[in-house]
């Protein structure tokens, strides 16, 4: 296994190198997804740019209104961060379920986003919390709503020469219901058959607002927008299962694959929504 290996010393250098190579270098941080693919392919390693040494991407900033997580921050650091846990417990749980400890020590949130697997562990929490992501290139920097980032199977709005540099989460979700559940073959290290992260705001018995984010239920990690529209303003106890079914039929496009079936996924997705609505 051998190929071009570039290790820029700064973010500016990384952006310049990325652009010079026309965005064709594989961008590697933890390597926990990329190297699996390369090892299984038994092919020469493609050229890559290692950003794991960039200190600029390693910060976690707790601001008054937002928390910003650098693209190089590992799942292990997120899982152990009390400041993140206080506002975003579902993100901490997702990070703790991203493979084994050896994987969490290397895997980054940014890699989990940019690899763009519909079964990725962390995107449901990021979607539920309304994350924004920062994309940078030599042309400049822009901020994108994460719920508009994935546009097709393994396709995103990121241009070839852009790097994801940070993930920003709005604070203020305290007092809402945070419900996360990953359903896999076993608890440790399984890839999800279905996963849901739901953030629900109740005003007494009335459902004020909700965000239901699924993994493994469509070609992309996605928000069930029809479901949230359908549920808005409902009272506890008046939420009808057939209405949930109808909304999920619009939002989700599960498939039969090696891990599960579309039928099973639909049933479990509905059950998870009901459990989220029952959660306090």
């Amino acid at each position: 296994m051998s190929g071009l290996f570039v290790r820029p010393a700064s973010l500016d250098e990384a952006l310049a190198v990325h652009q010079q190579h026309g965005g064709r270098l594989a961008v590697i941080a933890g390597g926990t997804d990329l190297l699996v693919g390369w090892n299984l392919a038994h092919a020469p390693m493609p050229g890559c740019m290692d950003i794991s040494g960039l200190q600029e991407l390693q910060s976690i900033e707790i601001g008054a209104d937002t928390v910003t997580i650098g693209a190089g921050v590992s799942c292990a650091r997120i899982a152990a961060h009390a400041g993140i846990a206080a506002d975003f417990p579902m993100l901490v749980e997702c990070a703790r379920q991203t493979g084994s400890i050896a994987i969490q020590n290397r895997a980054t949130l940014a890699g989990n986003i940019m690899n763009a697997s519909p079964a990725a562990d962390n995107p449901p929490a990021l979607l539920a919390y309304g994350a924004k992501i920062t994309l940078a290139s030599v042309r400049g920097t822009r901020c994108v709503d994460y719920d508009r980032f994935h546009v097709g199977y393994k396709r995103t709005v990121a241009a070839a020469d852009e790097l994801l540099t940070a993930i920003t989460l709005p604070r203020g979700a305290a007092g809402r219901v945070h419900f996360h559940c990953k359903v896999g073959t076993r608890r440790a290290q399984a890839i999800s058959k279905v996963a849901l992260a739901a953030l629900i705001e109740w005003d007494g018995d009335r459902l004020q607002s909700s965000r239901f984010a699924f993994a493994s239920m469509a070609p992309v990690p996605l928000l069930a927008r029809s479901l949230s529209d359908r549920l808005a303003g409902s009272r506890r106890g008046e939420l009808r299962r057939d209405a949930i079914d109808a909304a999920l039929a619009v939002d989700l496009q599960p498939i039969d694959d090696i891990r599960s079936t579309a039928l099973y996924r639909r049933r479990v997705a509905k059950n998870l929504v009901i459990a989220a609505l029952d959660a306090r």
Partner: protein, 164 residues
């Protein structure tokens, strides 16, 4: 090739190496450190576990170029009097032996962080290490026993040390 310097099992390594090779292949092929095993090659089994700056990683998922300036520990760098070695032997925690180096490394990472872990903490720490022989119970016992062996003995009673 890339000019590199890093620490491996307490010794400085300096030289020109292919940065795009897996750390696992560098250890086994270039350094003849074959205690680190390749099981799955995809981060599922933990047989290739090593420590980078004291942090547990799978060396099949690390490129050599990424360890520039780091401190590496493979199974060959574990102290010969590490209580884990005696404990794995006396607890019957080793059968075919393929998983053992990775198990010992993962257990060392745990005990460095939590010297007196609970069974649940041991189970979580070793969840990324697969064994197809023992059924795990004896491995968990070995880690718990090693933790007990390594804990400092209770402080001697006041006055037991003789006159000062």
């Amino acid at each position: 090739m890339m000019q590199m310097a890093f620490s491996l099992n307490g010794r400085r390594v300096d030289g020109e190496f292919d940065p795009a090779q897996r750390l696992l292949d560098f250890l086994r092929i270039e350094r003849d450190l074959t205690g680190t095993k390749e099981g799955c090659g995809e981060g599922e089994c933990g047989a290739c576990a090593v420590l980078i700056d004291g942090t547990l990683v799978n060396s099949c998922l690390v490129l050599l170029g990424q360890v520039q300036g780091r401190v590496l520990l493979s199974i060959e760098g574990i102290a010969t009097d590490d209580p884990l070695l005696e404990s794995f032997a006396s607890s019957g925690a080793t059968q075919c032996g393929i998983c053992t180096p990775g198990m010992v490394i993962a257990a060392r990472a745990l005990l460095d962080r939590i010297p007196d872990p609970t069974l649940d903490q041991v189970r979580e720490a070793l969840a990324g290490n697969l064994c197809r022989c023992t059924g795990y119970t004896r491995i968990y016992d070995a880690v718990l026993n090693a933790s007990a062996m390594a804990l400092p003995a209770a402080a001697p009673p006041v006055g037991a040390g003789g006159s000062a």
